[in-house]
Symmetry: C2
Subunit: 464 residues, 2 copies
């Protein structure tokens, strides 16, 4: 358990002791920008990860390879300190996933299991399907309507630059099995939570409730969901055969892999930049989150090589097992509870490789003038000033409530959900120029926070 | 065998007897255009085919369903005559297809069998891979380099409006197995002949030679070919496991399905508009060639409903088994050898659903002035005049050499090869507005040829 009042007290003491005095020299900004413009390092890193390791679902062989890869990579790049933090993770595997509409028209469908789903019986289920347009409609249904059937939740995600279409639809992925099972369904399948009209099905974590019987859960590709919707339009009973053979393989040890460039003047003060090392199993995890791994690792390395170590420590954290519930991130704040007060700011890159267009912060009021300095430096990259209500990326989302300031360097996610969590999340989806813009932005931001006369602690409470 | 000199003589006699006298009334053009603009018939037809039938590889259960569907559809639309022409087709099934790079980095690849490929042994092959940048490079290799290995032909297709990138690359698909086997390869895999950077692998027919040992042939998705190329760049020997279990199921009977609207004045004279009914097995054959089926069927129906039957007969031919070598088309010209002289013109829609931008013809010189009349009517749809060197679509490609005039209503194929021959060839890839433009263009063209005072026979020889 985190002792929050104590933590905040410790944090306030730390703040009192740490006026960072350095001013940022414009020529250093120019040097760092030029060095980044000439460097394909972020791309090289994500290429290395996707080609040499590939898929790396938590606890798998690929995940273990990724941990070894990350340790070696950070060492070979010359980070001052490279270490691992063990994290216990469940290891789930997808296995076979098949679905066929049997009547009124026979059609093979592309389906994938949702992450964490149990299996169907070995012979699958062959049953009538009942379609709902949303989780809410399912919740309003009666047991009589649903019992013994396969539930199909047919809600379509809308495209949005900031990914705002995700939240309203992903609830069906995470809670669909619980709500369908409450009404006696055999299984639940959802329309893929993704914006591509492709035949790739979109996976992602789903949940069970300890008080509700577990049922298998899968997702149809958007194109197949269209077909199924059209089949329903014929007005006849729809029967489907679904067979999914996901398995749990027990608990394994994975690791948060951490690399530091030790601060020259305030080594105990930390600018934390993060990404997650794990990925889903179907793609090679290029956008989610190889890109982030490349961006934050390259940013730190570029600072060191171009301008030398900064006054504060730069800590690159590559989190374990983001996909199955931020497990590495939760472990991090638990194990480093006493050290959180020393984190000046945290940022995570975990939204693909689209260009950054906005900086949101979560800074104490006294540090807000520094946001303008950041924007002065970031504006040439097309980055505008946002709000002071940032939540940070997923793996640092628990930090602001613990007093740690965060920023969100918000990326253009217009096409992120075309590939995210599908077999199509591969290196070719990364635009090297947009990735480089991210690399430069992270390098400049990190450098300024690690050297600038700013202390944004403690993070203010979020404004709802 | 077709007796060509006799055929040409008969054709010339027929021409002498058939001065079509009608002039095209501008108000009829307007009526037909308006009716098409208000009709979603082509879309409804392709939707019906893809939803109610879906994949329909020659000789399969889906193919038989498609034949029954087509017969019923043409009858229910009120064609005057609906009949079938039996065609013997081989029935091949894809089966399991798996590929995994074993070393230096383990990576699962997305692979599909090329159409007609034999299977690997049940346990697959696990062997070293040798990469070539083209079929030509493979042809220059030595037996010592290739023997006992898996050949990978890594040539990338270029995007082009008229699909001109296809030909130079597809030769590796059709002849790869022959050339690789000549040098003792165990199997051949090619980079997908497609323009999408996706993880869908592109299938399509491949050939064997009676004098060269058959070896299995498959295609990797472009994204996986990228990964494999990057793995080769590490400079270490690459080993891959490939397992493909395609099967031949012997010969089956399929059918060309034909619907006619009988001409009022010259019923023996035929305007033939065509598409093919079969598709590959992985997608639902929406672009290839459900779109064509919808376009030509709707065009004929719209003419009849709006303006009544035309002077000449309109014949809609939905060919069997285009994909495995134009088998239905060859059967058609063989069985209808005596009737070919009566075909005023033939056109096939088989290039997806992109808007038509150009009309190419293959008309006798005396009929060339009529091309300008056609263009007057088609120009408002954005269609310009092309050359008089048209080859027609695949299923009518043998007709001009037999004296039958053809046209090519050329479609924008910029994105056709993003989906073509992959699981991603589904209804959602069709833009209903572009499909409607095709429907209107085919209706206007067909109406003018079936009523206009034109006789473009015989087709001139092609200018090389």
């Amino acid at each position: 358990m985190l002792k929050r009042p104590f933590l905040l007290f410790a944090l306030l003491c730390a703040i009192a002791q740490s006026p960072v005095s350095a001013e940022i020299a414009p020529e250093d900004i120019d040097k760092l920008t030029s060095a980044s413009n000439e460097s394909g390092l972020a791309y090289d890193i994500v290429k290395s990860l996707t080609v040499e390791v590939g898929p790396r679902i938590a606890g798998s062989k690929g995940d273990k390879l990724a941990v070894a890869w990350a340790e070696t990579k950070l060492q070979s790049l010359g980070f001052d300190k490279v270490y691992k933090q063990p994290v216990r993770v469940r290891n789930w595997s997808r296995g076979l996933a098949q679905a066929t509409v049997i009547s009124p028209y026979e059609q093979k469908m592309v389906i994938t299991a949702l992450g964490g789903s149990i299996a169907t019986p070995p012979e699958g289920y062959t049953e009538e399907v009942i379609m709902f347009d949303s989780l809410e409609s399912l919740q309003e249904a009666t047991r009589e309507q649903v019992e013994g059937k396969i539930v199909f939740i047919n809600k379509k995600m809308q495209r949005h630059k900031a990914g705002k279409g995700y939240g309203p639809v992903v609830i069906g992925r995470s809670r669909g099995a619980i709500e369908a099972s409450k009404l006696g369904a055999l299984a639940v399948i959802i329309r893929s939570v993704g914006t591509a009209n492709s035949r790739f099905a979109h996976t992602g974590a789903m949940r069970y409730s300890p008080t509700v019987e577990k049922i298998p859960a899968g997702a149809l590709s958007n194109a197949d969901a269209d077909t199924l919707e059209s089949i329903f339009a014929a007005g006849k009973p729809v029967t489907m055969q679904v067979n999914m053979q996901a398995k749990e393989h027990g608990w394994q040890t994975s690791y948060n892999v951490i690399g530091e460039i030790t601060g020259t003047k305030y080594p105990e003060q930390v600018v934390l930049i993060a990404a997650h090392l794990d990925s889903w199993d179907e793609g090679t995890g290029a956008l989610d989150d190889g890109a982030g791994v490349g961006i934050v690792t390259a940013a730190a390395k570029l600072i060191k090589d171009t301008l030398g170590a900064s006054e504060r420590t730069i800590r690159v954290v590559l989190y374990a097992n983001e996909e199955f519930g931020l497990i590495g991130a939760r472990q991090y704040v638990k194990e480093n509870a006493d050290d959180l007060k020393n984190i000046i700011v945290a940022a995570e890159s975990d939204f693909g490789a689209g260009a950054i267009y906005r900086l949101d912060t979560r800074f104490d009021e006294k540090a807000l003038p520094f946001v303008d300095k950041l924007i002065d430096v970031l504006a040439p990259l097309g980055i505008e000033k946002g709000n002071n209500n940032a939540t940070g990326g997923p793996d640092i989302s628990m930090m602001p409530a613990l007093g740690v300031p965060v920023v969100s360097l918000r990326q253009d996610g217009t096409h992120y959900f075309d590939y995210h969590h599908t077999p199509d999340d591969t290196l070719d989806k990364i635009d090297p120029e947009a990735l480089k813009q991210n690399q430069t932005a992270y390098a400049l931001f990190t450098y300024m926070m690690a050297n600038g006369a700013v202390d944004p602690r403690p993070a203010p409470k979020q404004v709802k």
